[in-house]
């Protein structure tokens, strides 16, 4: 039997670099042996994104992207489709997992200097993936056509109004109508299910992996490794490590899916969209909250939009803002603690995003926004002057 399989394998290998590819990129890929668990979130993202794609694809077999039918079609899925409720809840909760892992994944990159040469392109592609996921989840949220779907989309598309000259027309063009309506729903559905997941996210992730495998993985110490002495083949070591950790993440994920899906689902979205009734609190999904807080911290409409977008895009500049000689923050005490503070500040901004931006909370929001940007502005300074602890020779 294995003789036959080997024969088939040889036949394929002559015509397609199947075995060679598997060996180079999975079995033999030299991975630094000192990677810690912060490195597990890339593969976790891959698995959870696949889950999102599969459940999403399944949902398109029953969902109807029509303003008159959408809400009912979601209930049809919840009530009449066998295991429809499971598909829906997995698909609705997975974005929260994906964004959480993305923030951790980006945090790893920031802390360990994974953005530094020769990995700048990986970093920039990552920023693009993050933006794509924001667009993807924003559009996906309109699809159930609930109150929060409708009004959240109204609020965010209104932001484009702030752009000078072209703003108002741009909003109408984006929506395909003067207000969020059937035109908007249909095009969001189309983009959400075709171009963005496949062409944007899929292609970008593929390219990230190509680039990563070309330069090799970073590691907690940040030094370039000796591929022969300090690396182990990806399989079995990191296959088993990834598998067990992903199983753990899935267990926690399923706890939410099966026992508390409403942790991330807004009650207002169980009410069909009503253009004549605005909900009391328009709340974006939790993962947008830090940026939402930044948006509201600036009292000027265009200023807020610029600050919010700037907050996301400024991350792309890290390769040039970093003037240190070492990659990993482990060896730079000031940078290390500033980075911890940055992470805590980000969480605080998220909490502020839930609160009404008034009085003391508004002031706090502004302080946190200022710190957010100050971190990047001062980055060259504290990465350059920081007395670097000696890096080891080998990991």
């Amino acid at each position: 039997m294995s003789e036959k399989l080997r024969g088939v394998q040889k036949w394929v290998d002559r015509r397609f670099p199947f075995t060679a590819f598997l060996e180079k990129h999975i079995t033999q890929y030299p991975t630094p042996k000192n990677l810690n668990y912060w490195w597990n979130f890339g593969s976790a993202l891959g698995i959870f994104f696949t889950i999102q794609l599969v459940t999403g694809f399944w949902l398109t077999m029953y969902y109807k992207p029509d303003a008159n039918l959408a809400f009912a079609s979601v209930e049809h899925i919840m009530r009449d489709v066998h295991f429809g409720w499971l598909l829906r809840y997995i698909h609705a909760i997975c974005p929260s997992a994906i964004f959480l892992f993305m923030y951790i994944h980006i945090g790893r990159g920031m802390f360990y200097g994974s953005y530094k040469q020769p990995r700048e392109l990986i970093w920039w592609m990552g920023v693009a993936v993050f933006l794509a996921f924001m667009a993807e989840s924003f559009m996906g949220y309109l699809l159930p056509w609930g109150q929060m779907s409708f009004w959240g989309a109204t609020a965010i598309t209104n932001l484009f109004d702030a752009i000078p000259f072209i703003g108002p027309s741009l909003v109408i063009w984006l929506r395909g109508d003067f207000a969020i309506g059937d035109s908007t729903l249909n095009r969001f559905f189309s983009l959400h299910t075709t171009v963005i997941p496949i062409a944007v996210i899929g292609a970008l992730i593929f390219m990230k992996l190509v680039a990563l495998h070309h330069v090799g993985s970073n590691n907690p110490v940040g030094i370039d490794i000796d591929k022969k002495k300090d690396a182990v083949p990806f399989s079995p070591y990191f296959v088993t490590k990834d598998l067990w950790f992903i199983a753990l993440l899935l267990t926690i994920f399923f706890l939410f899916v099966f026992f508390d899906p409403e942790f991330v689902l807004e009650p207002d979205n169980s009410e069909p969209a009503n253009p004549f009734k605005t909900p009391l609190h328009i709340v974006p999904e939790w993962y947008f909250l830090p940026f939402y807080a930044i948006l509201r911290a600036i009292p000027h409409k265009l200023g807020g939009v610029v600050a919010m977008n700037g907050a996301i895009l400024i991350v792309a500049f890290l390769p040039y803002l970093d003037w240190s000689k070492v990659r990993s923050a482990r060896f730079q005490p000031v940078r290390k603690w500033m980075t911890y503070l940055f992470f805590a500040n980000f969480v605080l901004l998220g909490w502020l995003g839930l609160k009404p931006p008034v009085g003391g909370l508004l002031l706090l929001g502004q302080v946190c926004t200022a710190f957010y940007f100050l971190y990047f502005v001062l980055y060259p300074l504290f990465t350059w002057i920081d007395r670097t602890k000696a890096e080891p020779e080998r990991i």
Binding site: K33, L100, P236, Y237, L243, I252, V257, F258, E262, L354
Partner: protein, 187 residues
């Protein structure tokens, strides 16, 4: 040790969002009661709905049509009686919606000038249906069930899935630990 630390940090990270999520709910001052949400209560509630509510209220997703003409109802009450399929879910997370419904049904009062009103929903268009405390609880249970009939199936299946995943995670953890044994020794 670092793995435990990572898990703990991760859990703390998750828990940071719990108060945020809890605060996001908000809502009117509802007195929570001990609601019976068993299948028996749901069935009693179904009878209450069919006999006393379905005249004016539809439940599209359960194929209940209101007997009264909706336009006539809108004229009589000032507002079209809303569909109740999703109400328990729309008014709160988890069982909060059921609590809301029960509280609303039992909060009717009359002003000094004789005008009827409701503590939970001021200036409510719906006249007092005059439900007993028990009927209010039962219909709240029925509406809660009706907002998501798959709840029970979900929880039953969930037990099996989590049970399986815990075992699988444990097994994979041991496999990983053993795979790395040699490397860790040399390290």
């Amino acid at each position: 040790m670092t793995m435990i630390m990572t898990t703990l940090k991760y859990l703390v990270f998750c828990l940071l969002f719990l108060p945020a999520a809890a605060m996001a709910a908000g809502g009117a001052h509802i007195t929570h009661v001990d609601l019976d949400l068993s299948n028996k209560a749901v069935e009693r509630g179904r009878k209450v709905f069919e006999e006393q509510c379905s005249t004016c209220h539809s439940m599209v997703f359960l194929n209940y049509k209101a007997t009264m003409d909706p336009e006539l109802a809108a004229q009589s009450f000032g507002k079209e009686p809303p569909d109740l399929s999703m109400t328990a879910k729309a008014k709160g997370k988890r069982t909060d919606g059921a609590q809301y419904i029960h509280a609303l049904l039992t909060s009717y009062y009359t002003h000094e000038d004789g005008r009827p009103d409701n503590k939970v929903f001021p200036n409510i268009a719906m006249p007092n249906p005059g439900l007993t405390e028990e009927a209010s609880r039962d219909v709240a249970a029925f509406l809660w069930w009706a907002s998501e009939p798959s709840r029970e199936e979900r929880k039953t299946l969930g037990k099996w899935v989590i049970g399986y995943m815990v075992i699988l995670t444990g097994m994979l953890y041991v496999v990983n630990k053993r795979t790395w044994k040699d490397i860790k020794k040399k390290g």
